[in-house]
Protein backbone atom coordinates (compact mmCIF):
# COMPACT_ATOMS: atom_id res chain seq x y z
CA UNK A 1 0.00 0.00 0.00
CA UNK A 2 2.80 2.33 1.00
CA UNK A 3 4.66 1.52 -2.20
CA UNK A 4 1.58 2.25 -4.31
CA UNK A 5 1.19 5.64 -2.62
CA UNK A 6 4.86 6.41 -3.20
CA UNK A 7 4.62 5.64 -6.94
CA UNK A 8 1.41 7.66 -7.24
CA UNK A 9 3.15 10.61 -5.58
CA UNK A 10 6.10 10.27 -7.96
CA UNK A 11 3.75 10.17 -10.95
CA UNK A 12 1.95 13.33 -9.83
CA UNK A 13 5.24 15.15 -9.23
CA UNK A 14 6.59 14.08 -12.63
CA UNK A 15 3.42 15.26 -14.34
CA UNK A 16 3.70 18.62 -12.57
CA UNK A 17 7.36 18.94 -13.54
CA UNK A 18 6.64 18.20 -17.20
CA UNK A 19 3.69 20.63 -17.25
CA UNK A 20 5.89 23.32 -15.71
CA UNK A 21 8.51 22.99 -18.48
CA UNK A 22 6.17 22.92 -21.43
CA UNK A 23 5.42 26.13 -23.30
CA UNK A 24 3.57 25.71 -26.55
CA UNK A 25 2.45 28.26 -29.10
CA UNK A 26 -0.88 28.82 -30.80
CA UNK A 27 -0.87 30.92 -33.95
CA UNK A 28 -3.11 32.38 -36.63
CA UNK A 29 -2.25 33.75 -40.07
CA UNK A 30 -3.92 34.93 -43.27
CA UNK A 31 -5.10 31.96 -45.31
CA UNK A 32 -4.72 33.50 -48.76
CA UNK A 33 -1.12 34.52 -49.14
CA UNK A 34 -0.20 37.41 -51.38
CA UNK A 35 3.54 36.93 -50.98
CA UNK A 36 5.36 34.10 -52.68
CA UNK A 37 8.28 32.17 -51.27
CA UNK A 38 11.00 30.86 -53.54
CA UNK A 39 11.96 27.54 -51.98
CA UNK A 40 15.50 26.23 -52.30
CA UNK A 41 16.12 22.53 -52.88
CA UNK A 42 18.13 21.41 -49.88
CA UNK A 43 20.57 18.66 -48.98
CA UNK A 44 20.55 17.60 -45.33
CA UNK A 45 23.21 15.87 -43.27
CA UNK A 46 21.77 14.67 -39.95
CA UNK A 47 24.23 13.45 -37.34
CA UNK A 48 22.11 14.43 -34.33
CA UNK A 49 18.78 12.72 -34.95
CA UNK A 50 17.59 13.76 -31.50
CA UNK A 51 17.84 17.47 -32.41
CA UNK A 52 16.44 16.83 -35.88
CA UNK A 53 13.37 15.13 -34.44
CA UNK A 54 12.79 18.00 -32.01
CA UNK A 55 13.72 21.06 -34.08
CA UNK A 56 12.74 20.08 -37.59
CA UNK A 57 13.93 22.01 -40.65
CA UNK A 58 10.77 22.69 -42.66
CA UNK A 59 12.48 24.35 -45.60
CA UNK A 60 14.62 27.10 -47.04
CA UNK A 61 13.87 30.03 -49.24
CA UNK A 62 16.09 32.72 -50.65
CA UNK A 63 15.93 36.19 -52.13
CA UNK A 64 18.34 38.84 -53.34
CA UNK A 65 18.68 42.13 -51.48
CA UNK A 66 18.57 45.48 -53.33
CA UNK A 67 22.37 45.50 -53.14
CA UNK A 68 22.72 42.07 -54.77
CA UNK A 69 23.42 40.07 -51.61
CA UNK A 70 21.97 36.62 -51.11
CA UNK A 71 19.44 36.44 -48.27
CA UNK A 72 18.52 32.99 -46.97
CA UNK A 73 15.70 32.15 -44.60
CA UNK A 74 15.24 28.82 -42.83
CA UNK A 75 11.90 27.74 -41.39
CA UNK A 76 12.07 25.61 -38.26
CA UNK A 77 9.34 23.78 -36.39
CA UNK A 78 9.50 22.47 -32.85
CA UNK A 79 7.95 19.01 -32.89
CA UNK A 80 7.93 18.78 -29.11
CA UNK A 81 5.78 20.36 -26.42
CA UNK A 82 8.69 22.01 -24.64
CA UNK A 83 11.08 24.86 -25.37
CA UNK A 84 14.20 23.79 -27.25
CA UNK A 85 17.51 25.64 -27.22
CA UNK A 86 20.11 25.38 -29.94
CA UNK A 87 22.92 27.20 -31.72
CA UNK A 88 22.84 27.92 -35.43
CA UNK A 89 25.59 29.09 -37.72
CA UNK A 90 25.52 30.16 -41.36
CA UNK A 91 28.53 29.44 -43.54
CA UNK A 92 29.01 31.16 -46.89
CA UNK A 93 30.97 30.07 -49.97
CA UNK A 94 32.04 31.90 -53.13
CA UNK A 95 31.79 30.63 -56.71
CA UNK A 96 34.97 28.57 -56.20
CA UNK A 97 33.60 26.91 -53.10
CA UNK A 98 35.93 28.88 -50.84
CA UNK A 99 34.47 29.75 -47.46
CA UNK A 100 34.06 33.42 -46.62
CA UNK A 101 34.00 34.06 -42.92
CA UNK A 102 33.04 37.12 -40.98
CA UNK A 103 30.69 38.13 -38.21
CA UNK A 104 27.55 37.08 -40.12
CA UNK A 105 28.86 33.53 -39.68
CA UNK A 106 28.87 33.81 -35.88
CA UNK A 107 27.18 31.03 -33.89
CA UNK A 108 23.89 32.43 -32.61
CA UNK A 109 22.00 30.97 -29.64
CA UNK A 110 18.27 30.58 -30.31
CA UNK A 111 15.24 29.06 -28.65
CA UNK A 112 11.92 27.86 -29.99
CA UNK A 113 8.76 27.17 -28.00
CA UNK A 114 6.85 23.92 -28.20
CA UNK A 115 4.96 23.56 -31.48
CA UNK A 116 6.28 26.90 -32.69
CA UNK A 117 7.33 27.72 -36.24
CA UNK A 118 10.25 30.10 -36.40
CA UNK A 119 12.35 31.68 -39.11
CA UNK A 120 16.05 32.39 -38.91
CA UNK A 121 17.87 34.27 -41.63
CA UNK A 122 21.20 35.55 -42.74
CA UNK A 123 22.64 37.70 -45.48
CA UNK A 124 25.75 36.77 -47.44
CA UNK A 125 28.92 38.65 -46.46
CA UNK A 126 29.38 39.95 -50.04
CA UNK A 127 28.01 39.65 -53.56
CA UNK A 128 30.54 36.92 -54.49
CA UNK A 129 28.83 34.41 -52.19
CA UNK A 130 26.84 31.85 -54.13
CA UNK A 131 26.35 28.95 -51.72
CA UNK A 132 25.67 28.46 -48.05
CA UNK A 133 25.33 25.90 -45.30
CA UNK A 134 23.54 26.19 -41.95
CA UNK A 135 24.66 24.21 -38.91
CA UNK A 136 22.52 23.42 -35.88
CA UNK A 137 23.85 22.31 -32.49
CA UNK A 138 21.63 21.29 -29.60
CA UNK A 139 22.16 22.92 -26.21
CA UNK A 140 23.21 20.61 -23.35
Amino acid sequence: MKIAKFFLGCAVLSALAVTGCSTTVNSVENAQKSGQRYPVADKRVVTDSSLNSKVYIVGLNSATTPGGLLKVQVELENHTGSTQRFLYQFEWFDANGMQINNIVSAAIPEQIYGGENKFIYSVSPNTNCKDFRVKFIEAD
Binding site: N102, V104, P109, D140
Partner: protein
Protein backbone atom coordinates in the same frame (compact mmCIF):
# COMPACT_ATOMS: atom_id res chain seq x y z
CA UNK B 1 39.01 -4.98 8.82
CA UNK B 2 36.04 -4.08 6.65
CA UNK B 3 36.46 -0.38 7.49
CA UNK B 4 40.14 -0.57 6.69
CA UNK B 5 39.32 -1.77 3.16
CA UNK B 6 36.27 0.41 2.52
CA UNK B 7 37.83 3.71 3.65
CA UNK B 8 40.65 3.80 1.05
CA UNK B 9 38.28 2.54 -1.61
CA UNK B 10 35.77 5.34 -0.87
CA UNK B 11 38.55 7.92 -0.87
CA UNK B 12 39.82 6.64 -4.22
CA UNK B 13 36.31 6.76 -5.67
CA UNK B 14 35.81 10.36 -4.48
CA UNK B 15 39.19 11.41 -5.92
CA UNK B 16 38.27 9.83 -9.26
CA UNK B 17 34.90 11.61 -9.31
CA UNK B 18 36.40 15.03 -8.57
CA UNK B 19 39.23 14.50 -11.05
CA UNK B 20 36.59 13.71 -13.68
CA UNK B 21 34.71 16.94 -12.95
CA UNK B 22 37.79 19.17 -13.18
CA UNK B 23 38.27 20.91 -16.54
CA UNK B 24 41.77 21.41 -17.84
CA UNK B 25 42.51 24.58 -19.75
CA UNK B 26 41.81 24.20 -23.45
CA UNK B 27 41.17 26.42 -26.46
CA UNK B 28 37.57 27.29 -27.25
CA UNK B 29 35.80 29.01 -30.10
CA UNK B 30 33.73 32.12 -29.53
CA UNK B 31 30.09 31.14 -29.36
CA UNK B 32 30.64 27.42 -28.84
CA UNK B 33 28.58 25.14 -26.59
CA UNK B 34 30.93 25.67 -23.65
CA UNK B 35 30.55 29.45 -23.57
CA UNK B 36 30.39 31.09 -20.17
CA UNK B 37 27.10 32.90 -19.69
CA UNK B 38 27.47 35.68 -17.11
CA UNK B 39 24.36 37.20 -15.60
CA UNK B 40 25.71 40.65 -14.84
CA UNK B 41 28.14 41.04 -17.69
CA UNK B 42 28.23 41.22 -21.48
CA UNK B 43 30.10 38.13 -22.71
CA UNK B 44 32.25 38.02 -25.83
CA UNK B 45 29.58 36.01 -27.70
CA UNK B 46 27.02 38.74 -26.93
CA UNK B 47 29.06 41.29 -28.89
CA UNK B 48 29.30 38.82 -31.78
CA UNK B 49 25.57 38.16 -31.62
CA UNK B 50 24.69 41.87 -31.59
CA UNK B 51 27.19 42.75 -34.33
CA UNK B 52 26.01 39.86 -36.52
CA UNK B 53 22.40 40.94 -36.19
CA UNK B 54 23.23 44.57 -36.96
CA UNK B 55 25.31 43.72 -40.05
CA UNK B 56 22.68 41.32 -41.46
CA UNK B 57 19.91 43.86 -40.93
CA UNK B 58 21.93 46.77 -42.31
CA UNK B 59 23.09 44.90 -45.42
CA UNK B 60 19.59 43.57 -46.09
CA UNK B 61 18.08 47.06 -45.80
CA UNK B 62 20.07 48.36 -48.78
CA UNK B 63 20.66 51.66 -46.95
CA UNK B 64 24.38 51.61 -47.79
CA UNK B 65 23.65 51.24 -51.51
CA UNK B 66 21.92 54.61 -51.76
CA UNK B 67 25.03 56.75 -52.20
CA UNK B 68 26.14 58.60 -55.38
CA UNK B 69 29.72 57.23 -55.25
CA UNK B 70 29.76 53.72 -53.83
CA UNK B 71 31.15 52.30 -51.66
CA UNK B 72 29.72 54.50 -48.93
CA UNK B 73 32.16 56.30 -46.63
CA UNK B 74 31.31 55.44 -43.05
CA UNK B 75 32.54 57.04 -39.86
CA UNK B 76 32.07 55.23 -36.58
CA UNK B 77 30.71 57.79 -34.16
CA UNK B 78 29.98 57.52 -30.44
CA UNK B 79 28.37 54.45 -28.95
CA UNK B 80 27.13 55.42 -25.47
CA UNK B 81 27.70 52.88 -22.72
CA UNK B 82 24.73 52.96 -20.33
CA UNK B 83 25.66 49.75 -18.55
CA UNK B 84 27.31 49.11 -15.20
CA UNK B 85 30.45 47.71 -16.79
CA UNK B 86 33.38 49.22 -18.60
CA UNK B 87 33.27 48.35 -22.29
CA UNK B 88 35.89 48.56 -25.00
CA UNK B 89 33.51 49.57 -27.76
CA UNK B 90 35.81 48.13 -30.45
CA UNK B 91 34.52 44.70 -29.39
CA UNK B 92 31.31 45.74 -31.12
CA UNK B 93 32.25 48.36 -33.70
CA UNK B 94 35.30 46.60 -35.12
CA UNK B 95 33.24 43.51 -35.94
CA UNK B 96 30.72 45.70 -37.75
CA UNK B 97 33.30 47.73 -39.68
CA UNK B 98 35.21 44.58 -40.74
CA UNK B 99 32.02 43.00 -42.07
CA UNK B 100 30.94 46.15 -43.90
CA UNK B 101 34.38 46.54 -45.46
CA UNK B 102 34.34 42.88 -46.58
CA UNK B 103 30.88 43.37 -48.06
CA UNK B 104 32.20 46.02 -50.44
CA UNK B 105 29.28 48.24 -49.48
CA UNK B 106 31.22 50.65 -47.27
CA UNK B 107 34.69 51.85 -46.37
CA UNK B 108 35.45 53.36 -43.00
CA UNK B 109 37.20 56.64 -42.36
CA UNK B 110 40.80 56.58 -41.14
CA UNK B 111 41.07 56.80 -37.37
CA UNK B 112 44.81 56.25 -37.22
CA UNK B 113 46.51 59.61 -36.36
CA UNK B 114 49.73 58.63 -38.17
CA UNK B 115 47.85 57.95 -41.39
CA UNK B 116 46.02 61.26 -41.01
CA UNK B 117 49.33 63.16 -40.61
CA UNK B 118 50.77 61.45 -43.66
CA UNK B 119 47.72 62.53 -45.62
CA UNK B 120 48.42 66.17 -44.62
CA UNK B 121 52.11 65.96 -45.50
CA UNK B 122 51.59 64.79 -49.06
CA UNK B 123 49.69 67.91 -50.09
CA UNK B 124 51.98 69.65 -52.70
CA UNK B 125 51.09 73.22 -51.79
CA UNK B 126 51.15 72.62 -48.05
CA UNK B 127 47.48 73.36 -47.65
CA UNK B 128 45.10 70.96 -46.03
CA UNK B 129 43.08 69.07 -48.57
CA UNK B 130 39.34 69.22 -48.15
CA UNK B 131 38.41 66.03 -46.40
CA UNK B 132 35.65 63.97 -47.95
CA UNK B 133 32.62 64.11 -45.71
CA UNK B 134 31.34 60.74 -44.61
CA UNK B 135 28.19 59.51 -46.33
CA UNK B 136 27.07 57.97 -43.05
CA UNK B 137 27.96 57.90 -39.40
CA UNK B 138 27.19 55.01 -37.09
CA UNK B 139 26.14 55.87 -33.57
CA UNK B 140 24.33 54.03 -30.81
CA UNK B 141 23.84 53.08 -27.23
CA UNK B 142 24.08 49.97 -25.07
CA UNK B 143 21.53 49.89 -22.26
CA UNK B 144 21.40 47.48 -19.32
CA UNK B 145 18.15 46.58 -17.58
CA UNK B 146 18.07 44.41 -14.46
CA UNK B 147 14.96 42.73 -13.03
CA UNK B 148 14.82 40.52 -9.95
CA UNK B 149 12.30 38.06 -8.52
CA UNK B 150 13.64 36.37 -5.42
CA UNK B 151 16.99 34.79 -6.26
CA UNK B 152 16.28 34.93 -9.97
CA UNK B 153 17.89 37.76 -11.85
CA UNK B 154 17.25 38.82 -15.43
CA UNK B 155 19.69 41.13 -17.18
CA UNK B 156 18.86 42.51 -20.60
CA UNK B 157 21.35 44.33 -22.76
CA UNK B 158 19.87 46.42 -25.56
CA UNK B 159 22.26 47.20 -28.40
CA UNK B 160 20.81 50.16 -30.30
CA UNK B 161 22.50 51.35 -33.47
CA UNK B 162 21.66 54.13 -35.93
CA UNK B 163 23.03 54.89 -39.37
CA UNK B 164 22.90 58.65 -39.85
CA UNK B 165 23.08 60.64 -43.07
CA UNK B 166 24.82 63.90 -42.02
CA UNK B 167 23.96 65.68 -45.29
CA UNK B 168 20.24 65.06 -45.06
CA UNK B 169 20.31 65.12 -41.23
CA UNK B 170 18.22 61.95 -41.08
CA UNK B 171 18.64 58.44 -39.76
CA UNK B 172 18.47 56.04 -42.68
CA UNK B 173 18.61 52.82 -40.68
CA UNK B 174 18.12 51.80 -37.08
CA UNK B 175 18.59 48.45 -35.46
CA UNK B 176 18.10 47.05 -32.00
CA UNK B 177 19.15 43.72 -30.58
CA UNK B 178 18.12 42.67 -27.09
CA UNK B 179 20.15 39.99 -25.36
CA UNK B 180 18.51 38.70 -22.18
CA UNK B 181 19.97 36.35 -19.59
CA UNK B 182 18.08 34.91 -16.66
CA UNK B 183 19.07 32.69 -13.76
CA UNK B 184 20.39 32.63 -10.26
CA UNK B 185 24.07 32.39 -11.14
CA UNK B 186 26.43 32.46 -14.10
CA UNK B 187 27.02 29.15 -15.85
CA UNK B 188 28.80 27.33 -18.65
CA UNK B 189 26.63 26.50 -21.65
CA UNK B 190 23.69 28.29 -23.19
Amino acid sequence: MKTKILYPLGLAALTAIFAGCATNAHYVQTGDKEQVVSLGQINIQDYANAASDAVKDLLASGALDKVPNPPALLEISRIINNTSQQIDMDLLTKKISIALLQSGKAVTKIVDPMAANYHKEIQPDGTTKTTRLPDFTLSGKIIETVDRAGDTRRTTYSFQLSLNDPRQEVQVWEGEKEIGKQGTRSSVGF
